[in-house]
Amino acid sequence: MDQTVSIEKPPARLGSRIHGGLLALVLLLVFNALVTPNFLQLQTLFVNISQVATIAIVAMGMTLVIATGGIDLSVGAVMALAGALAPLIFLSEFGVAYPALGVAVAFILPLIVAGFCGLFNGAMVAVLGIQPIIATLILFISGRGIAQVLTNGNLQTFSNPAFSYLGTGKILGLPFQGWLALAIACVLFLTITRTTWGRYLLAVGGNERAAFLSGGPVRRVKIGAYVICAVLSGLAGLIVVAINSASDAARNGNLMELDAIAAAVVGGALLQGGRAPIFGAILGAIIIQLVKYTLLANGVEDEVALIAKALIIVAAVWIQQRRKA
């Protein structure tokens, strides 16, 4: 989706951008259908949806941050932090004594903590004027550290069906988190296209000086983007924990920042800001996930999959640069 809210007539550029992504998707699907064993199974679809949902949710938040001209490296660490907190809460004395309340707090409190992480990032960038890469590097390093300290570095396993619904529940036969991602996308899309906040978001990314001189609340908009990104990361962290019925602070969300940035860029986000293609981010997430799946299902090493991911980012950025020129 493009930044212009054209209801009647989408600009021509929109077409080519999405077509490139869709083409890649179709190619991946055809390739898998022909080559990968058991690809055309419902089970494969479920696995991929439940995997892609976390990437998509984080990538959408990342898209907002990138739209302001920033970047958020701390998303994986925030996932680990939120994911570590939830089991601590519902496994605590309080959580065991009041199971319903415990699960509710285990959902809400980690998201609030994640929100504060975003507030920290946003304040560093928008108030202190620190470069986004450096500002978010702080939590990138320390966030996971805090999560590991909280859990003493242990793997927390649990059995809590109510909480696990987040990762294993199904609606109309499809994984719950897939629906959740879709719902978030719709809300964000409407926010970007229909609200003043969304308009200011794109204006700040497009020309910060001009947005400021036109009365745009530049700081609030930027901080808002980082907060939303962090809350969505926290949610993704909870989903991962729910899927596994275990929280591993060392692995939860590891390298997620790369997946999310890649998905956002493949989806059409411009790194210099000014564009927030939310559904593009989902498409990007699907492509990233499918590439990963394709390689793994065909017996390629995990490490090689990383190289493939890097190549996708390079290709997407290269295409962006060519478009600009």
Binding site: R194, T195, G206, N207, L213, G274
Partner: protein, 509 residues
């Protein structure tokens, strides 16, 4: 002649920047190049140094036709440039900066640092500069950094050094040091092309001056046979016959009757560029800020709009003192500010005409954070029609519009908010003649409705004919006031020149 450029032509996207411009410089001569902003000085220099390719004309340097294609080639040919923004690396040592790209090598690949330091000390000694060459360049004053840049240029056997506004960040003592270096260069037979807005300096250091205007070279004079008034007149291209031939602007000053006071500013200061600014603005009045570049016009506008924090002084709107913390507050206090730099501070290039036009109006277009698209389209349609904005449709990206139409969209951005006080900083810069007249007419209509305008323009014609009153500005101070009808450009020019000659305020203190 060391350098001779004749008949140089250059246009950008069909807009001519240079039309038959030229300059001639003798060896060992210090030659000044002056002109208003946009006169074509930097374009001419960039063609000489290979940054731009010329469309036509001849250049010969040191007796050969010159075909430099890059700044590096220009440097090798003996033309060195000291830019306004020094292109040195402050965190690296003085030596590294001086020998960068030409490091003495040991064993063919390693840098021979001992030799490099020795050579740097030797080069600097020629200008009586004795500093620790191993210290980071950034630890020295701007003047020293500038001298290092010059030393670097000379070490590359430059026959000509181009200095673009070399004194703009120097204090009086440092200027003297720089002039000493220039005299040293001169005695070594090196020519200097000296670009500056500070006219008094030229008399002190330059031999001849070439004046540019509208992409053309107007005249070259001996400085010993010219006066500052001559130079200003040449720069502005103002003599009575020409004004009569060109006709009037769409403005017609002093038509309005003065209403009650709307805005009053007294003793406003924001820093070294704005030291003391007074302004009284009535309802239905256009007040112009007259002055040369660097006189604090734009800074005054930024202070009024709350962009720069005021250090002292007071601003009152409708009699009530007000302290604005940023543009958002200024807008809700009923102000608008069309910024000078359309690209950097005005348009959001990838956004549509519609989104650009309603950017400042956005808070009023929304309820509960939701944009009212119906009203938005209605307002945009109305402004596209009344301002005659040429656009395929309102969803076309603004970057695809011509400069004049972009400027109309930005003007509409502010008119749409119906500000009681509209500050216009160079509202017609870089737009074609047609759009210029239209914009002037809109502004006049707006004021007729009882709104007030503060007008800043480098074009004296626009200020003199457009404003009901003109505040004369100098070195960050408002120093006088002229009231229409009856103000002529010559009156404004001499008001400016007086302050230069008399109070020595034009020189750098």
């Amino acid at each position: 002649m060391l350098l001779s450029m004749t008949g140089i032509e250059k246009s950008f996207g069909g807009v001519p920047a240079l039309r038959g411009a030229g300059i001639e410089i003798a060896p060992g001569e210090v030659h000044a190049l002056i002109g208003q902003n946009g006169a074509g000085k930097s374009t001419l220099i960039k063609i000489l140094t290979g940054v731009y390719r010329r469309d036509g004309g001849e250049i010969s340097f040191a007796g050969h036709p010159s075909e430099v294609l890059s700044p590096r080639e220009a440097q090798e040919a003996g033309i060195a440039t000291i830019y306004q923004e020094l292109n040195l690396v402050p965190l690296r040592s003085v030596t590294e900066n001086v020998v960068m790209g030409y490091e003495p090598k040991a064993f063919g690949m390693l840098i021979n640092w001992r030799e490099a330091h020795r050579r740097t000390r030797e080069i600097l000694a020629r200008f009586d500069i004795d500093i620790d060459v191993t210290a980071p360049l950034g630890s020295f004053s701007t003047a020293i950094q500038q001298l290092v840049a010059i030393a670097r240029a000379v070490s590359l056997d430059a026959q000509m050094v181009i200095m673009d506004e070399p004194t703009s960040s120097l204090d009086a003592k440092e200027v003297e040091i720089l002039f000493g270096v220039i005299r040293e260069l001169k005695s070594q037979g090196v020519a200097v092309l000296y670009v500056s807005h500070f006219l008094d300096e030229l008399f002190e250091i330059c031999d001849r001056v070439t004046v540019m205007r509208d992409g053309q070279t107007i005249t070259t004079r001996q400085l010993s046979e010219t006066t500052k008034l001559d130079m200003i007149a040449d720069m502005l291209g103002r003599n009575p016959d020409e004004v009569a031939a060109e006709g009037m602007t769409e403005f017609g000053g002093a038509a309005a009757k003065r209403g009650p006071v709307r805005l009053h500013a007294e003793g406003v200061a924001t820093g070294p560029r704005l030291k003391r600014f007074d302004l009284t603005l009535h309802e239905g009045e256009i007040v112009g800020l007259g002055g040369l570049l660097g006189s604090g016009r734009t800074e005054a506008a930024r202070a009024l709009f709350g962009v720069d924090a005021t250090q002292s002084g007071s601003i009152e709107i409708e009699g009530a003192p007000i302290r604005l913390e940023g543009p958002a507050e200024a807008i809700s206090a009923g102000m608008g500010f069309l910024a000078e730099d359309r690209k950097a501070e005005g348009i959001i290039p990838d956004m549509s005409v519609r989104e650009n036009l309603t950017l400042a109006l956005l808070p009023k277009l929304a309820s509960g954070g939701q944009i009212d698209f119906g009203r938005e389209r209605e307002i945009v349609e109305r402004f596209i029609r009344t301002l005659g904005i040429k656009t395929a449709d309102m969803d076309q990206p603004i970057r695809e519009l011509s400069g004049g139409n972009q400027q109309k969209v930005l003007l509409a951005r502010w008119l749409a908010t119906e500000p009681e006080i509209l500050i216009l900083d160079e509202p017609t810069r870089g737009v074609d003649v047609g759009a210029k007249r239209e914009i002037q007419a809109f502004v006049r209509d707006y004021v007729k409705k009882g709104f007030s305008v503060v007008l800043i323009s480098s074009e004296f014609e626009e200020i003199v004919e457009g404003a009901d009153r003109i505040i004369v500005m100098h070195e960050g101070r408002s120093v006088g006031e002229l009231t229409n009808p009856g103000v002529t450009e010559n009156m404004l020019v001499s008001a400016l020149a007086q302050h230069g000659e008399g109070g020595a305020e034009w020189t750098r203190q």
